[in-house]
């Protein structure tokens, strides 16, 4: 489904990702963990073509999307991404936020788009707030709208970038359980997260990022209980000491 092969990305001489490879099969959920600044967001942005890579390839459904001849808009229309800071459009209602891409990118007529959007909002538990402005919602509700906005066009791959980091602790649960539901429904997803509980219980695979590359990738049972790489061992020890595992 998704194969990242020897990816390299630098910002003005600072190498952030180097020789990074990983893969995600259809209907699987990969959790990306790693220290702050290890490049999780950068990797997701590269997969969504919000960044141009320096080297290496990203293949989506077998097709090299890092080829400069590929139109980024086309790829982005099939890959959904949800950001840490929600990034809802503040001048539009919740419903308009969710119908924007179906109407403008996929050419769905307004009534059909609204019907789909309402169904999606219902799924994230917010159909009754469709007419509200984003700033009238709580953080958790805003994040669920952002997820609905990304999901409504049926992307083949969903990327989540620390979608709970900006939320108050009591709101984290509602968003994580939504992600778990999506996973149960067979959505292919890559989730960058600091929530070790989620990575452990929901993800099929966990990739640990360090020094701009995947230090270790494996099923959560193995990676969390019997890590091979010394960097993973150190990272997990710190997490355990902080009482977050």
């Amino acid at each position: 489904m998704l194969e990242v092969d020897r990816l390299r990305k630098s910002y003005g001489g600072r190498v952030v990702l180097s020789d990074l490879s990983l893969s995600v099969a259809s209907h699987r959920c990969l959790a990306l963990i790693g220290a702050s600044g290890s490049g999780k967001s950068t990797l997701l942005r590269c997969i969504n073509l919000l960044e141009t890579v320096d080297d290496g390839t990203v293949r989506l459904e077998g097709r090299d999307i890092t080829d400069p001849r590929v139109r980024p808009d086309e790829v982005r229309a099939r890959v959904g991404i949800v950001f840490q800071a929600f990034n809802l459009f503040p001048h539009m209602s919740v419903l308009d936020n969710v119908t924007l891409a179906p109407r403008r990118v996929h050419g769905v007529p307004r009534p059909a788009a609204e019907e789909q959007a309402l169904a999606m909002l219902d799924r994230v538990g917010l159909a009754s707030r469709a007419r509200a402005r984003p700033d009238e919602l709580s953080g958790g509700q805003q994040q669920r709208v952002a997820i609905a906005r990304a999901l409504v066009t049926n992307p083949v791959l969903m990327l989540f970038d620390e979608v709970t980091s900006a939320l108050d602790p009591e709101l984290v649960g509602e968003v994580l359980s939504l992600l778990a539901e999506l996973k149960a429904d067979g959505t292919t997803m890559v989730v960058a997260t600091h929530e070790m509980g989620f990575a452990r219980q929901v993800a099929d695979e966990v990739a640990f990022l360090a020094d701009g590359t995947v230090a270790e990738q494996g099923p959560p049972e193995q990676l969390f209980t019997d890590p091979v790489d010394p960097r993973t061992q150190r990272f997990l020890r710190r997490i355990i000491e902080a009482g977050r595992l």
């Binding site: 919000l50 808009d73 229309a77 990034n87 459009f89 996929h106 990304a150």
Partner: protein
Amino acid sequence: MSTRGTAPGDAWVPSPVQQERLAYRRRRSRRSALIAAVSTVVVLGAVAVAVVHTRGWPQFRHAFFDLSYGVQVLPDIAKGLWLNVRIMVVCEVVILVLALLLALARSLRGPAFFPLRALSTVYTDVFRGLPALLVIFLLGFGVPSLRIGWLTSNALVWGSIGLILTYSAYVAEVFRAGIESVHPSQRAAARSLGLTHAQTMRHVVLPQAVRRVVPPLLNDLVSLQKDTALVAVLGTVYYDAVLQAQIDIAESFNYTPYVVAGLLFLVLTIPLTRLTDWVARRQGWAGATGPV
């Protein structure tokens, strides 16, 4: 959000404590209004007394505030003002469109758009730097003197074009500032959904940018309204309010017509400035949250 009424069926009656508070607030605001009124009367009275006792006041009053003469010239000057209003409206529409195009041209990325970007930059640099009066003279006197058949030699048209050229450079910068004030994460979110650059501009960036720059835009509009008088210096066959006043003065050597013209301009611009303040204040607390 603004205050919401009580929900239907909600039989809320303010408690005695709350009623006491409301009564107290009412008393306070009545008292404040009274103090403001008294102090205004006292200050204005003192100023008036000082002015009328200044030496030379009678001559001054005759030359600038001759009431009956003012009433006599009022209709002509008002007719002139109508021309100012028409110039203003036409210019404003063209300025807004042109300025938006200039700002959009500057926001384009990619090598193919380099000439457009450069042209827009040079344009704004040049016309923001030139005095409006100079541009109006140059076009209003210069072009008609060429006597090129297919170009109109109507000085009024050329004067208005001068205003448009100057003002669109300013307004373009206002739009550009608005566009750049929209946080990059908004663009990223729009692009991540598959929207093109143009769609992102149209549906996400511009609506937010325009909302933010309404106060400075209105400010430029007030300024434009006054500067329509500059077109009068071309001495066209059309008489605007200021030129009309000047003609009356040339006959009577009494300056009251200028005062009348000035008052008429204020009648137009003060409501606009109040509107500008009101919009700015409203955005101050409603729109400052910006993108998350």
